[in-house]
C-alpha cells in the first residue's frame, strides 16, 4: 500500500454554532483502504463526516485531499473536488421527483458529457451491483426504506469516485442485505480500487470490512487500529463498545442536533 495518505485531517475543531463537537481530531486515510469510524451516539461521527465533505466549515484545523486544503477553498473549487467523492447518506437522500434511474444518472450527466446509451447501461450496472436490477423506472416513494438506501449507494458510486463515504450504511437494512453491502464495499475496493470511509456502529460489519478502525468519544479520537488491535486493546471505552456493555449509569451524553 502506498503510504502517502490521500486524506489528512489535522487538529479539526468543529461543531454547530457555538457548540463544539469535535475536539482536535486528526486522522489519515490511505489509498485503497477501508477506514471505519465508530463511536457512540452523539460522539461527533456525523459532524466529522460533514466537515470532511465541506458541508460544514470547521472552526479550526485542516482537511486535505490529495494534498489540497479544503477548508480554505471557495465553493467552486470545493464542488470540483467533491465530484471525485461519492457520498451515501443515511436515509438515501434520493430526489423525490426523479425516478431511481434518473437519480443515479444525475451525477453522470452533470459531471461531464456521456453518451445516453452508455449512461443507461451504467445505471443498470450500478443497480445490479446493489441488487436492485430492473428498478430504474420506479419512483423513490415506491421503494422501501432499505431499497432507497441501496439506490443511494448506487448513486454514490455512479461516477466511479476515488473515495466513497458511507454514513451508517447498514442501519435499517436486514442482515442479508447488510452482508451484501459489506461484500459490495469489499468488491469495490478490490476491483475498482476505491477508498472507503464508513461511519457506523454495526459490529459485524466492522469486523468484516475494516482495515482500520478510528474510534471517537466525546469529540476525540480515543483509538486507532486494526480489528486485531481492537481485540487486544485495553482502552476501556473501546472494550465496552465491542463487548456491548451498557454504561453503569446512564450519563448525560449531551443532546446534539445533526
Amino acid at each position: 500500500m502506498d503510504r502517502k495518505p490521500i486524506v489528512e485531517v489535522r487538529d479539526l475543531v468543529g461543531g454547530y454554532g457555538g457548540h463544539l463537537v469535535l475536539d482536535r481530531i486528526s486522522l489519515d486515510v490511505y489509498e485503497g483502504e477501508i477506514v471505519v469510524v465508530i463511536g457512540g451516539s452523539g460522539c461527533g461521527k456525523s459532524t466529522l463526516l460533514k466537515n470532511m465533505l465541506g458541508l460544514l466549515r470547521p472552526v479550526s484545523g485542516s482537511i486535505r485531499y490529495w494534498g489540497q486544503e479544503i477548508t480554505t477553498m471557495d465553493e467552486e473549487e470545493l464542488a470540483l473536488l467533491l465530484q471525485r467523492l461519492g457520498i451515501a447518506f443515511q436515509s438515501g437522500a434520493l430526489f423525490n421527483s426523479m425516478t431511481v434511474g434518473e437519480n443515479i444518472a444525475l451525477p453522470m450527466e452533470e459531471y461531464g458529457r456521456m453518451d445516453p446509451a452508455l449512461r443507461e447501461i451504467l445505471v443498470g450496472i450500478k443497480l445490479d451491483l446493489v441488487g436492485l436490477s430492473g428498478t430504474a423506472g420506479l419512483m423513490p416513494d415506491e421503494l422501501s426504506g432499505g431499497m432507497k438506501k441501496r439506490v443511494g449507494f448506487a448513486r454514490a458510486i455512479a461516477v466511479d469516485p476515488r473515495i466513497v463515504f458511507f454514513d451508517e450504511p447498514s442501519t435499517s437494512l436486514d442482515p442479508i442485505i447488510a452482508a451484501g453491502l459489506d461484500k459490495l464495499i469489499l468488491d469495490m475496493r478490490r476491483l475498482l480500487g476505491i477508498t472507503v470511509f464508513v461511519v457506523t456502529h454495526d459490529l459485524a460489519s466492522i469486523r468484516l470490512i475494516a482495515d482500520r478502525i478510528v474510534m471517537l468519544d466525546r469529540g476525540r479520537v480515543i483509538f486507532t487500529g486494526t480489528v486485531a488491535d481492537v481485540e487486544r486493546t485495553g482502552v476501556p471505552r473501546v472494550r465496552q463498545f465491542f463487548d456491548r456493555q451498557p454504561d453503569k449509569t446512564i450519563e448525560a451524553r449531551g443532546v446534539r442536533t445533526p
Binding site: 421527483s97 451504467l122 450496472i125 430492473g134 423506472g137 416513494d141 466511479d160 468488491d187 475498482l192
Partner: protein, 369 residues
C-alpha cells in the same frame, strides 16, 4: 460477385481487447463489432486476455458492445478474462442481457375518464367526511368536554390573524384608492363625484373587502396549512398520531378551523375600514369634498344589508380556505414533491371556490333578498 465475397468471409470473428477500456477504446470496440456484423460475422469472440484493468465505465462499454452484437443476432463469447477484470465481469454478468421492458399499459380513453370521475367522487367523499369530522371536533366536542387544544388555537390565531393584519390592511387600502380613482373618472363626466363615496363603501361592504381578504388569507394561511399537513404526512407524523389512537381532526384541524373562522371575518372588517379609508384619501387628494360631506355620504350609503352580505361571504371563504388546505395537505402522496403539488393545488382550489361562492352569494342577495 457480392454473394461470392460473402461466402468467403469468416463466419467467426475474433476481436482482441486492449489493456484498458477508456471511452475511446470502448467506442472503437463498438465500431469493430458493427463492422464485423455488417460483413456477415454470425459469431464473435471477444478475447479479453490482454485486458488488465476494467472500471465500471469500461464494463459499460463492454456490455454495450455485447448487447449490440446480440441484438443483431450474432453469438458473442467472452474468453480469456483474467484477474480483477474477470471478477468484475462476473459481478456484472446480469447486465449483459438486455433489460426487459417493464412499461405499464396505458389506460384507454374511457378507462381514463372513468378513473377521473371515480377519483373526483371519492375525493369529494373524503373532503366531506373530513369537514364533518372537523365540524364535530371544533364546535361540538369542546362542549361535550372532549377538549380543545387552546394553546394550538392561540398560535394559529396569531399566525392566521394577527400577522395578516398588516398586509390585509395595506392591500385593501390600495384597492380602495384604485376603485375610487376608477369610479371618479366615470362620475366626473356627470358631475356626481360625491357618489364615489357611496360606491366605495358599498363595494367594500358587499364584495371587495371579503374577496381581497379571502385571497390574501388563502395565499398566506391556506398554503401554509396544506404544506404543514402534507409535510407531516410525508414524515409519517400523521400516522404516528393515528397510531397513538389520537384524532387528527382534534389535534391538527380543529384549532385551525376555529382560528381561521375567527380571523377571516375580523380581517374582512379591518379590510373594509381600510378600503373606505383609501377612498377618502383619494377624495382628499383630488376630489376636494370636506371630510364632513364625505362622511355624511358614506353613512348614507352604508346599509346593514350590505355589511351582512360581506360578513356571510367572509365566513364562507374562511370555511373554504381552511377545509381546502386541510384536505389537500392530508391527501398528499409521493413524498417531498407531493408537498409542493398539494400546496399549489390548495391555493388554486381556494381561489376558484372563493370566486364561485362569491358569485353564488351575490346572486342570492341580488335576486332574492
Amino acid at each position: 460477385m457480392a454473394s461470392a465475397q460473402e461466402s468467403t468471409q469468416p463466419r467467426r470473428t475474433v476481436i482482441a481487447l486492449p489493456g484498458e477500456l477508456p471511452d475511446s477504446g470502448g467506442a472503437r470496440l463498438l465500431e469493430e463489432i458493427s463492422a464485423a456484423i455488417s460483413s456477415g460475422a454470425r459469431a464473435i469472440e471477444l478475447d479479453l486476455s490482454g485486458l488488465k484493468r476494467l472500471d465500471s465505465r469500461g464494463g459499460a462499454w463492454l456490455i454495450r458492445a455485447v448487447r449490440t452484437a446480440r441484438a443483431a443476432g450474432a453469438r458473442v463469447d467472452l474468453s480469456g478474462a483474467r484477474g480483477e477484470a474477470a471478477e468484475l465481469i462476473e459481478l456484472l454478468a446480469g447486465s449483459f442481457e438486455a433489460p426487459r421492458a417493464s412499461a405499464r399499459p396505458a389506460a384507454g380513453l374511457m378507462e381514463a375518464v372513468g378513473q377521473k370521475a371515480f377519483g373526483a367522487w371519492r375525493e369529494f367523499g373524503d373532503a366531506w367526511r373530513l369537514t364533518v369530522d372537523a365540524a364535530y371536533w371544533s364546535f361540538i366536542a369542546p362542549f361535550e368536554g372532549r377538549g380543545l387544544r387552546w394553546k394550538a388555537l392561540l398560535t394559529e390565531l396569531d399566525d392566521a390573524g394577527v400577522r395578516a393584519i398588516g398586509i390585509v390592511s395595506l392591500l385593501n387600502f390600495l384597492l380602495g384608492l384604485v376603485i375610487a380613482m376608477l369610479s371618479a373618472a366615470q362620475a366626473s363626466t356627470f358631475g356626481v363625484q360625491i357618489y364615489v363615496a357611496s360606491l366605495v363603501v358599498m363595494g367594500f361592504a358587499r364584495e371587495l373587502a371579503a374577496i381581497m381578504t379571502g385571497i390574501v388569507v388563502s395565499a398566506r394561511t391556506g398554503s401554509a396549512i396544506a404544506a404543514e399537513l402534507a409535510t407531516m404526512k410525508v414524515y409519517e407524523e400523521i400516522d404516528a398520531l393515528k397510531g397513538m389512537g389520537l384524532s387528527v381532526a382534534k389535534f391538527l384541524i380543529a384549532p385551525k378551523v376555529i382560528a381561521v373562522l375567527i380571523a377571516v371575518p375580523i380581517l374582512t372588517a379591518i379590510g373594509f375600514v381600510m378600503g373606505v379609508a383609501g377612498g377618502f384619501v383619494l377624495n382628499a387628494i383630488s376630489l376636494g369634498f370636506t371630510f364632513d360631506r364625505w362622511w355624511e355620504q358614506t353613512l348614507q350609503a352604508a346599509a346593514v344589508r350590505d355589511l351582512l352580505q360581506g360578513g356571510v361571504k367572509a365566513v364562507c371563504f374562511a370555511v373554504i380556505i381552511v377545509m381546502v388546505g386541510c384536505h389537500n395537505g392530508l391527501r398528499v402522496t409521493g413524498g417531498v414533491r407531493g408537498v409542493g403539488m398539494a400546496t399549489t393545488r390548495a391555493v388554486v382550489m381556494d381561489v376558484f371556490l372563493i370566486v364561485v361562492a362569491d358569485l353564488f352569494f351575490t346572486t342570492v342577495f341580488y335576486y332574492f333578498l
